[in-house]
Structures are given as C-alpha cells and as structure tokens.
C-alpha cells in the first residue's frame, strides 16, 4: 500500500482553514502536531458516552472508562515494543516524565558528590533543567557531550565522559532543533559497561520513526502525545519493568498506593506507583487512538514520506541565497525538522512575514538555547514536517522566504 498524503490530509479538519487569507501551511509539527478526526472523534465519544473515573469505580461507566484507559496503555506498549503494558507510565508530557526520572532514579541511586550525570549540548531545556536541579539537590556533577559543526553528537571523548562515576546518561534521541537522529549504540554500550542508566528523550523520534525499545538500548524513554497526533496533557515514560519496580514514587496521592495508614504508606506496583491522582483519562484514550492511526499507516511508510519531504526541503532551502541550514545537510541521519537562518533578518521577522502568507513556522531558541549558542546565533527559524506535509507546502515556504528578503532587502 503506497502512502497517499492527499488522502491523509483529508483526515485533518484544520487543513480546511485559511490563515491571513492563505491556505494553512503548517510547518510546526515538532512544536505540536495537528489531530486527525479519528482522534477527535474517540475523545468526544468517550466524554459523551463513557465518562467515569478510572481504577476505582465498580459502576459500569467507571469500568468502561478503565478498560478504555488501560486499552490505550496496551496499544502504546505494542507501538513501542514494550515487554508489557506495565512498562508504560502515563505522565502529563515528556517534561514530567524526565522530571519523574530525575527525582525517582536520583533517589534510588542515592546520588551524591562524586557522582556524575551526562547529558548533551543538543538537549531541549526539559532534559537539562531537571538534571541541573538534581545536581543542586545532591551535589552530583553534570557533564555533557558537545555538538560537531555538522550537527552531530561529538563522541570523541565518550570514554572520558562516561566513566565509572557516571550514574545516569540522558540524551535526546532526535534533536528538536537540528533534526539530528542520534545513533546511541556506542553510548548505550559504554553506559552499560560502566553501569549507568541510559535515558532517552524520544519526544521527536517516537512520532516519526519506527521505535522498538528492545533495540534502542535505553533503560527509560520519554515522549509526549501532542507531537504524535494525540492531545496535549498526556505523555509517556517507558521503563524496563525490573527498573521501574525499584524506583520510589515521584508524586504522592490517590491511585499510587497499596495501603495507607496515618503512620505510613506502601506503594502500588508500576505503572500505578507513578500515576498519582486522577490521570488525564480522555487524553490517554486520545493518544491510544493516535497510535492506532499511526499504526494503520505504518511508521516505516510515514518515515519514508518524511525523508522524501526533508530531502526536497533541504534542496529548496539551500537554493535560496542567504539561507544557512543548521544541522545535518543531507537527509542521512536526520529527520524532518530543519532549522535555518536568513542572512540579515531576525527569525522573529522571518516568522512574522511567513505567517502573513499562511506559513506557520517556529522562531526563537526552541527551548534549546545551548544549541543556538553552539552555532553562534540568538535564535533560529525552524520548519518541521509530518505525515501530512506536502512538497507544495515546501514551495510555499521557499516563496515566503523570497518575500522576507524583499521586505528586508
């Protein structure tokens, strides 16, 4: 079955709208993706017909709601190749998942002075700040991989950086700025040798690539629903069950307990241990529907489509004089997120003029300020693609850049 982008676009009601008098050209999926009607319908139907709280009600609605919620967990587990649904913890987003790991794994490992945590310069702020906070709390030391000029992780000092003092390595799988897909095989092997946990921020990879956690080499991964056709407010932490089982809770409250007395509490097994309070039920079910949609099209086919779009976009952008691309120059080892600069024009102004033409891109530091600093710019313009992106939309971007240069020329 061949991938038909025009057919796919019909599932997304938002593409019927115009922006500033132009057809919507949505090139900001790395920020948040659009939602197909299949996801919207499931969420609406749940609220209209099955709404009840999960994991605590004996009545019919509560039972149906619980089945739908746990069914979503099971489908997400299958989607990423998890050994069981119990390895899938629902969180609010990737940020919460990473904070959960920083707290619970930090406590489990009894981190202190002399211990080291390794991240990279390529991280989103959500994979920097929780580790800085953990280091402040414990006295552990934060170290990081650099970025090469061509936009890849600099592994030249791998053996020094990851050593017997390293307790946690937490890296981005696909950069939200450069688009780089990090091949973490050497790093995973090294982390395993020294006994460090490997955490991967898969916020940008799970939505776009076939991912199998059994082959990834990570102990824990984080991703978020709204970047993969699901709603906001729902994210996932996947962890090896034998590891999750050893981690202490993050947030305390309802649902995460086994028994509570006034003098102490014992905790539920994972994943409930990490899901205190009423979870975002409808959102989890919506994410389950998103996974069904993606599975139906096939992640390999989606990835192939995005590679073709990325290749087309790299060609289109490099043919615009004055445009500089940050990150890998060819589609090899990168995904469909392309950041660039237009000589002499600030990204805010680029984004504003593109918006007037209906072309929606992200501008700024993309919550990854160290990446911008690495390439010596305060901000970048970013176009990011998904299964619904067309070559016509890339052409609209290129025409928009011509307009940018006219206004600021």
């Amino acid at each position: 079955m061949s991938f038909d982008v025009e057919q796919v676009r019909k599932d997304f009601p938002i593409f019927q709208r115009e922006v500033n008098g132009h057809p919507l050209v949505y090139l900001d999926s790395a920020n948040t993706s659009q939602k197909p009607v299949q996801v919207l319908d499931v969420m609406r139907a749940h609220q209209e017909r099955y709404n009840g709280n999960v994991s605590r009600s004996v009545h019919t609605l509560g039972t149906e709601s619980t089945e739908a919620y746990e069914g979503a967990r099971a489908r997400i587990a299958t989607f990423i190749g998890a050994a069981s649904p119990d390895e899938v913890v629902f969180t609010k987003n990737s940020t919460e998942a990473l904070n959960l790991v920083a707290h619970s794994a930090g406590q489990h490992l009894r981190l202190g002075p002399g211990d080291e945590i390794v991240i990279s310069e390529m991280e989103h702020h959500s994979n920097i700040v929780p580790w800085q906070l953990l280091c402040e709390r414990t006295g552990a030391t934060l170290r990081w991989f650099g970025i090469t000029d061509s936009g890849f992780l600099d592994e030249s000092n791998l053996d020094d950086l990851i050593n017997e003092r390293t307790k946690i390595v937490s890296l981005v799988h696909m950069s939200n700025v450069l688009g780089t897909i990090n091949d973490v095989s050497r790093i995973a092997a090294r982390a395993k040798t020294v006994g460090a946990l490997l955490v991967l921020d898969c916020s940008q990879s799970v939505p776009h690539l076939p991912i199998d956690v059994r082959e990834l080499g990570a102990d824990l991964i984080a991703f978020t629903g709204h970047k993969m056709l699901g709603p906001t407010g729902i994210g996932v932490l996947w962890g090896r069950f034998d590891l999750l089982e050893q981690l202490p809770p993050f947030l305390g409250g309802g649902s995460m307990i086994e028994t509570v007395t006034m003098t102490g509490t014992t905790y539920a097994a994972p994943p409930a241990r990490f899901e205190a309070g009423t979870p975002p039920i409808t959102e989890a079910i919506g994410l389950g529907a998103a996974v069904d949609y993606l599975t139906g099209l096939g992640m390999a086919a989606i990835h192939e489509h995005e590679q073709a779009i990325t290749s087309y976009a790299l060609d289109a952008l490099t043919s615009v004089p004055g445009v500089r691309i940050f990150g890998p120059a060819s589609p090899v080892g990168r995904g469909g997120t392309v950041s660039f600069g237009v000589e002499g024009v600030h990204p805010h102004d680029v984004g504003q003029i593109l918006d007037a033409l209906g072309v929606e891109v992200r501008v700024g530091h993309h919550c990854a300020r160290p990446v911008c600093a690495r390439f010596g710019v305060p901000a970048m313009t970013r176009a990011s693609f998904y299964l619904y992106t067309t070559t016509d939309e890339i052409d609209a971007l290129a025409r928009g850049l011509d307009q940018v240069k006219k206004v600021f020329g």
């Binding site: 805010h348 504003q352 206004v407």
Partner: protein, 151 residues
C-alpha cells in the same frame, strides 16, 4: 498585505539605520533585559540627567527599532518629559490597536501603533523601554509605569 501595519517604513528605517546604538561611558545606571521566549537581549545605559541613553542588543526589527526610537525620543529630555513619553508608549503598546497615538509626544514612536495589534510582538517593542526604566531607576531617575507583565 496585513503586515503593512507592522513593518512601517519608519520601523524598517530605524532597524537598518539605528540611532545612538552602542554602549557609551560614562553612565549612572545600566540594565540588561532578555525576552526568555525568543532570546532577544538588550542592554541600556542611562546618565542621570538623561543627556545620554546608549544601548546595544540582539533582536528582531521591532525590538531594535524600538530601542532606536527610544534613544531619539528620550535622550536630552527632563525626567518628567521622559516619564510622559514612556507612559504614552506603554499605553500605546498595550492598547490592542485601540489607542490613537499622539505624534507630539511619541514622534516616530507612532509607527508602532500597528505592532499593538500583534500580541506576540508587543513584548518585542517594549523590551528596550523596560530595560530603560530599570536603568533609569538605577541612575536615580524614576520614569514610566510598570506594565502588566505577560508571559
């Protein structure tokens, strides 16, 4: 194009040929402000008698042109005049396009009237003015009002 309201010739002129740009000595107060969502930065220096207002920064056309206009409008004024101008500019920017600017007070600043209709850009225009207010306060000069801060 809708953008005519935003990218007025006056704004583009100030962006391409900024007035008074560059940090100068001596000064009595200095403030460095950043816009955390986009990374734009500005440093403003003020002499307590307002005979020199110097600045340097990185940012979009709106924030950089706004700094140039600020320099042109406020340098050499009394603190009472500076306060009136500051107040008028902040009011214009927070007026969502409903405030009619007074050219007598705001000079080239009236070109920013269109910016007020783009909520995402208002903070760009205000960045130098907020830095100026802090720098002035550090130089012992009270100007301006605190706008409501929006993330």
């Amino acid at each position: 194009m809708m953008l005519d309201g935003l990218y007025q010739e006056i704004i583009l002129d100030h962006y391409k040929n900024p007035h008074g740009r560059g940090l100068r000595d001596p000064f009595d107060g200095e403030a460095h402000h950043v816009n955390p969502t986009c990374g734009d930065e500005i440093t403003v220096r003020v002499k307590s008698d307002l005979t020199d207002i110097s600045y340097d920064g990185l940012g979009c056309s709106i924030s950089q042109a706004s700094a140039s206009v600020l320099h042109e409008l406020v340098q050499g004024k009394t603190s009472a005049e500076a306060s009136e101008i500051h107040h008028a500019f902040v009011e214009l920017m927070q007026g969502r396009g409903q405030v009619e600017p007074d050219e007598e007070v705001l000079g080239d600043g009236i070109a920013f009237a269109g910016v007020a209709r783009f909520p995402a850009r208002v903070k760009c225009a205000l960045l130098p003015w907020m830095a100026f207010k802090d720098a002035a306060a550090r130089a012992g000069v009270e100007v301006g009002v605190s706008p409501e801060v929006k993330a």
